[in-house]
């Protein structure tokens, strides 16, 4: 039994199955993070003693650096996929490896940040600001971790599929990237 449109797009929708799936999944992610951000806004505007500026004790440099790391990793991810489209498997390996490494760098920087917070006595229970901070960044870290696991699979054992079914493999990488 073969399921149609696993690899080739369906004519009237112009999409292969997994692409529909991942876009639907992203729609649900929007609702998830939408709810979290709405909660953040509501708690912040409803609060009588929110933390501002210095009081938050955030390290702007580390945060900025990590944002840069994250954006770079998005770019390398796209490049990995594009290399496959251009039939350059070697480049794919390099870009994908870079993506995974950048994910790792992100997590390490995050760990430093968390550590600094704990040292200054900031815990989720200390203030609703830190509660939001730790919950949202924690969830995001889980998301990054998940991405790293999937990408490592594509980089390592999963890349065998390149030989047997290159189109499907390229699609897979695209799906992983969208995630």
């Amino acid at each position: 039994m073969d399921i149609p449109y696993v690899v080739q797009p369906r004519e009237d929708t112009g999409l292969f199955n997994a692409k529909v799936g991942i876009w639907l999944f992203l729609a649900s992610e929007v609702m998830l993070f939408g709810a979290l951000f709405s909660s953040y806004i509501l708690l912040r505007v409803g609060s009588m003693n929110w933390l501002y500026g210095e009081a938050k004790d955030l390290n702007v440099w580390l945060g900025t650096a990590n944002t840069a790391v994250l954006i770079t990793s998005s770019i390398t991810m796209v490049m990995a996929w594009a290399s496959l489209k251009l039939n350059e498997f070697g480049k794919f390996k390099a870009y994908m490896g870079a993506t995974i490494l950048l994910g790792l760098v992100f997590m390490v920087i995050k760990a430093f940040e968390y550590n600094a917070k704990f040292h200054h006595g900031h815990f989720p229970a200390s203030h609703t600001f830190y509660a939001i901070y730790f919950t949202l960044t924690g969830l995001h870290a889980l998301h990054v971790l998940g991405g790293m696991v999937v990408n490592s699979f594509y980089w390592g054992p999963g890349s065998k599929m390149w030989k047997t079914d290159p189109v499907r493999f390229t699609n897979r990488v695209e799906i992983g990237g969208l995630f």
Binding site: V20, L32, F123, P124
Partner: protein, 611 residues
Amino acid sequence: MQPTTEETQQHAAHGAHHEELGFWRKYIFSTDHKVIGIQYGLTGLLFLFFGFCLMMLMRWQIAYPGKPMPVVGEFLQKLLGDEMVNKGVMLPDLYNAFGAMHGTIMVFLAIVPVAFAAFGNFVVPLQIGAPDMAFPRVNMASYQAYFLGGVVMFFSFFIPGGAAKSGWTSYSPLATLADMGHHPNGQTFWILGMVLLITSSLLGAVNFIATIIQLRAKGMTWMRLPFFVWAQFVTAFLLLLAFPPLEAAAILQLMDNVAGTSFFLPTGLAAPGTTTPLPISGGGSPLLWQHLFWFLGHPEVYVLILPAMGIVCEIIANNTRKPIWGYKSLVYSVLCIGFLSFIVWAHHMYLTGMGTKIATFFQTTTMIISIPSVIILTCFFISLWGGSIRFTVPMLFALAFLPMFGIGGLTGLPLGFNFTDLHLHDTYYVIAHFHYVVAPGTIFGLFAGIYYWYPKATGRLMNEFWGKVHFWTSLIFMNLIFQPMFAQGMAGLGRRMYDGGVTYAGADDPAAGLVGVPQWVFGMNRHISWAAWCLGLAQIPFIINFFLSMKKGKKVTSDNPWGATTLEWQTPTPPPHGNFDKPIEVHRGPYEYSVPGHDGDFTPQTEPDKR
């Protein structure tokens, strides 16, 4: 290299021989949508029965407050400990746990899995002419996550402190404070269970939508889809978009419970039974939880009802032997419901003291959403007009669905107006209202579907006589249970009352202008409980019929025993892995019954136009 069609077909024919899957791969870790559908169905029915058993026990405490439970009292004490049962008497904590878990289990572990996942899995790919779901392995993962969620929920009854006790709505701060003596407590288990169930629903929803968009057979255009598929399509979108906010809320409440945050805990909150403020940072908002919960909660009630409407539609068309009246109105109505159900949620929160402007908004949207629901019901009623109705067992259940859902829906209007809701909120009137929708409503739809598709799944029919016994007794007892609750509620009996409201009978003090719960309410409590236990007995014929018919039922003589038009009846019986043994092409709409000029009184969707 592409194999030729001939080769593929030969392969398919041989496939059955080559692919001898072992027991585990075939029944437990199956990726076949039909097997997964049946797994969902059996597990869900089991939980339906379990949730009902919890309620039968609670009904004892409501009818005879403080009396030891007969038969099972001592056993439960041994099983759950002295904190929960004392000398065979159900204690308040156990009542609260059973109540919260009855709601949770019925909604998330019984009705959604059976209505959406079981019927959806079994029927949707067949009805659209697909070989399977778009992502068979995701499908299996979805069932496994559901199963695990069920295990976590079930296990929580046996941990110290027992299962969650704060209602199926788990309102904060109650949910965080209810069981502070135990860690992890029932509420933590509830949240973890919910996260698994939500994950399962999301995987399922993505799969259904992708399948319906991508895998429709040749010629199966959108307006040729059976209404059941439309209903499932909209349901899947509701699950996809409404569940994540609850997931967010659950994560935040988990943090409140285990990491000591105050997302939902206001400043100055005192520990239970004291006036000392808790050592928390405070500043949280209990209302936030309610918003996030009901943002899911309201779409969820449509998740509970739409699949049942879809089932009923198929069965009515098939048993009136005429086309459904107003197919397009049905489709547009169900789409409207899907959209509107996202903007009515705060009608559950009139009592929180929201401003009149906001209340007016939600009151208006609530009235508007009742219009498409009425259109759907009206279409079904008109479809009966002038049909030569076959009163088969599925049809009886489908017919009963109409007035039962009608009662449930119409009694919802007074709850949608904020001024009447202020009186009725949190009374047994509400319990009666939504149970009319989900119990004699949805459950009857599910029974109808089981009797209807059973021959496709097993190749045998269920016994007609016992089916009718099951139907008439269930109909009578359902109404004896829920009809009196309207009266009780209007007389002021609150829901979630451990003693069935006895405490408030004493509040009667005419001199001070106080009116307590009148005595007749307590008589009714007993009548309702007896009806509930009889409803339990009335399911015995069904259970026996269900299992016995697999071996002993009358064998079907054709693949299409009901003479139906839709694609699922064009498969072999039971359908093999991959479903169809011939290429499928659709030439017409789903309900071409008794079309003038055609032979027979039904024209299958696959039948080409005659030249």
